[in-house]
Symmetry: none
Subunit: 252 residues, 2 copies
Amino acid sequence: MLTDQRHQLIRDRLAAEGSVLAGELASHFGVSEDTVRRDLRELAKAGLCRRVYGGAVASAPFATVPVGQRASHAAEEKTRLARATVALLARGQTLFIDSGTTNAAIARAIPRDLDLTVATNSLEIASVLSDHALIELIVLGGRFDRHLGACVGADTLAAVAQLGADLFILGSCGLDVSRGVTAFVSAEAEVKRAMARNSAGIVIAVTSDKLATAAPYRVAGAETIRHLVVEKTAPPAILADFERQGAEIHLA
Amino acid sequence: MLTDQRHQLIRDRLAAEGSVLAGELASHFGVSEDTVRRDLRELAKAGLCRRVYGGAVASAPFATVPVGQRASHAAEEKTRLARATVALLARGQTLFIDSGTTNAAIARAIPRDLDLTVATNSLEIASVLSDHALIELIVLGGRFDRHLGACVGADTLAAVAQLGADLFILGSCGLDVSRGVTAFVSAEAEVKRAMARNSAGIVIAVTSDKLATAAPYRVAGAETIRHLVVEKTAPPAILADFERQGAEIHLA
DNA sequence: GCATGTTTTGCACGTTCATGCAAGAAGCCG
DNA sequence: CGGCTTCTTGCATGAACGTGCAAAACATGC
């Protein structure tokens, strides 16, 4: 059994039942409790669950996320990226915005006096934009995935198919010149692909840790990226590669 | 049973019933009363309840109520209605819940250990239920109406049409025996009608001020109501009329 | 092919934590 | 006041915890 597989199964269990017991997982996987504790510690560190005595509970999504290890330490960078990304938007445009913490930061950075049409499958982003009076908000419904904090599945794909956007603000899990934009979950990748297909341009804002990494599911090729927003500290060599593929680089 | 889970369930119980008894909780969870007292002490310290002799009571019901200008003055009544409505639910059921402050209160009163499938077009209700691990949540997307805080329109209708529910928790704008259930906005009424059509039973929880009033758009006849949850102070004559139409009356 | 480094896992250690029990203090009711 | 319940505090116990370490599995480089 691969460590990563075990992690995934624990995440599934958390999503399905809301909580897990260390001892129960240990006997279920046939490993020691120490190993399970290590797993839980790592998942908690990644913000995927909350560690409690005896096991772990699913971390509440955005509602009560003053915690969130990775949300806080990278919050400042994400805010900077968000501001730079919002600067690319023009009034009257139609956008797709999918889920992800960076995209949530972008939604939060959208000024209230910018009139846009926004279609999103992320509940958090929809909530953020719900009181922007000038934004025409389209919620892309479907089965809600707690991992992603967004809707996925056939209903979501059907909703996306009926729309077209000027820009797609794509929350990327991994970004590599040769492998392009990639995602961790199949259902997530499907929605991203549909949004990409129905958009005139793709905008990606990523923190440096996502650069030159790849996740299993392919979403779009590097040549489809129109705007790439990255931190100032990003390796110039990598950025040059993307630039050769036609992307416009924006440093935040 | 994880300590954290117990705390969570006590909080749900507090939200649903308004008060808890130490001894009752102890036998319910199978722990000593000392443990329960410790739990209650911690919850009280965190400001999540107020400790009283023999148990604890929910601290200000406003604590968890976020927005909504008129939500405050009738909050307590709505919470009572919500508790009584949740008591009608059974595990494994599929529900439609549409928008409205009363329905939002009902969603908040749903305990975390109740597994349900819930389809809603209200963004607030979706957010509330998004961290209930046992609830299969289906977001009914479409054009977001800021006035309603929910999605309406053709896309929403199409999403509803694909589903069927055991119960429809209908947020009523006006309720009158002869005119039935009515709504203020055409688009809202359309969604309610679609949900009513695809549900085996209709549940309505209303404050007294909605009784014997009517809004322009007709949603469903009085004879289609299966459960009617009202305040104790509701005029018996009106309730008798609904009872004659086949509704089961629940006083909160 | 062998040595080296890395990762994963299990075990032993001392520590922390949740729980229940006992004893005394405090609150409630007649 | 007296009898009762409920509460708090201190303490003991066992379970869960983190850490350091070593063995094993695996990859990497010469």
